[in-house]
């Protein structure tokens, strides 16, 4: 397969950056997208050029590291997968593929296609946890009965891998889906319910501080999320927030 790649190249966080065209040949349909980039980089290194920097780790769709905007969609045209799970068979011989970093003011570019997503960490640190004394007196979570529906919804929310595709897909670069997934996974369980009010207020405040946009309910985040995190979480967070605000 022969392809033309248009890739965002940016030397460092302060450099201007630009799109650079690369022609690549010999790409197999069974290669993953990241393997295709590995082939490109091998060629660049052999020519003495700087390889294209991109984030990756597990390459199994669970770590949330890979984060590429491919032909205008986070993680490419296929649904419910991360970039590492995208295979080249999705594309045709002769295609032009545009590869950009996830764009958001809160996700500044570090180099080429790598962005700084520590804004998510700070939202999580704001109150994305439960306060449990684990010093030898821990109660087994399974001893507390939980409605199956709540347990399922909480689990589904907890499958968020924090990749940032929701922010990348949203026309407003909003982080509502991520934040709401983290709020929901705790709010739905008795262990998390105790601090639910403080949690939602703190996490939304941090989300706003980071400079993410507002939610326009376009639903783009839900469709582009590799884990299919539902918009129901955003509605739940809105409810939790409004409830906590008037208390």
């Amino acid at each position: 397969m022969k392809l033309t790649l248009k890739i965002w190249r940016q030397e460092n966080a302060t450099a201007k950056g630009k799109m650079v065209d690369y022609n690549i040949d010999g790409i197999d349909g069974d290669m993953s997208f990241l393997e295709m980039l590995d082939v490109l980089n091998e060629g660049l290194v052999n020519k003495g050029e700087q390889p294209v920097e991109f984030d990756h780790d597990c390459r199994e769709g669970i770590c949330g590291s890979c984060s590429l905007q491919i032909n205008g969609e986070p993680h490419g045209p296929d649904k419910f997968i991360t970039t590492c799970q995208l295979h080249m068979r999705t594309f045709k011989d002769g295609d032009t593929i545009v590869i950009e970093p996830f764009r958001a003011k809160a996700f500044p570019v570090i180099k080429d296609l790598i962005v700084d997503r520590t804004a998510f960490d700070r939202i999580q640190q704001a109150y994305g946890y439960i306060s449990v004394n684990t010093s030898g007196n821990t109660i087994d979570a399974n001893t507390i009965p939980i409605e199956k529906e709540n347990a399922d919804d909480s689990f589904n929310a907890a499958t968020c891998i924090g990749c940032g595709a929701c922010v990348a897909a949203c026309k407003n670069a909003s982080a509502m889906l991520f934040t709401s997934a983290k709020v929901s996974q705790f709010a739905l369980l008795p262990q998390g319910e105790v601090e639910a009010d403080r949690r939602v207020l703190a996490m939304v405040e941090q989300m706003d501080k980071e400079g993410f946009g507002n939610c326009s309910n376009t639903g783009a985040c839900e469709l582009e999320c590799p884990k299919g995190i539902s918009l129901e979480n955003i509605a739940r967070m809105n409810r939790e927030y409004l409830k906590a605000s008037v208390k």
């Binding site: 545009v98 909003s174 946009g213 376009t218 509605a235 809105n238 409004l242």
Partner: protein, 220 residues
Amino acid sequence: MGGLLKSSVAKKFAMALSGLFLVLFLAQHFTINLTSVISPDTFNEISHFMGTNFVVQAILQPILIFGVVFHFIMGFVLEIQNRNARAKSYVSYNGSANSSWMSRNMIYSGAVVLAFLGLHFYDFWVPELAHKYIESHPEDATRYYGELVSKFVSPVRTGLYVVSFVFLMLHLLHGFSSSFQSMGVNNKYSEGIRKFTVGYAIIIPLGFIFIAAFHYFNNL
């Protein structure tokens, strides 16, 4: 309560609440306008009541004006914040792959509706204020139908009204159902709510178009 006034969630809640209020107002406005097609006398009677009733004029009208002004100012505030949240745009952005045109362009459909409101106020509200408070006319409870019909003689003005109602439809197609999500409603009733809001978003603007077209063709 302080958080309710400054956070992104609160702003969207307020936007949704003002939007729902305006949706209710639209239904009331449409119902009154429809009587102009059925019975000019009834239309005159209701219009006279609305124009002279103390509660409507002194309480409901200021609330309505506040709702309209709040909705569009907040709309622009949110739009500016949203644009700032993505400092650099994508070279390639395939928005249609994951969202509707209406949901991505609320600011534009809203801006057209706002411009229409300017025309609508120029056509009806300003003359009404002048009639009541500047010129000294004797009270005439039968003038409303004639004033309405006279505005739809011009094909250009009628066309502007029709185009504006199409944009109102586009705005409502996303905005009405979206307001429930912003207020935290997403449950087993959501599909029913969505169907109702889509029906409303289509029927009400089409109804307004019908009324404008009816008076235009009736004038020919």
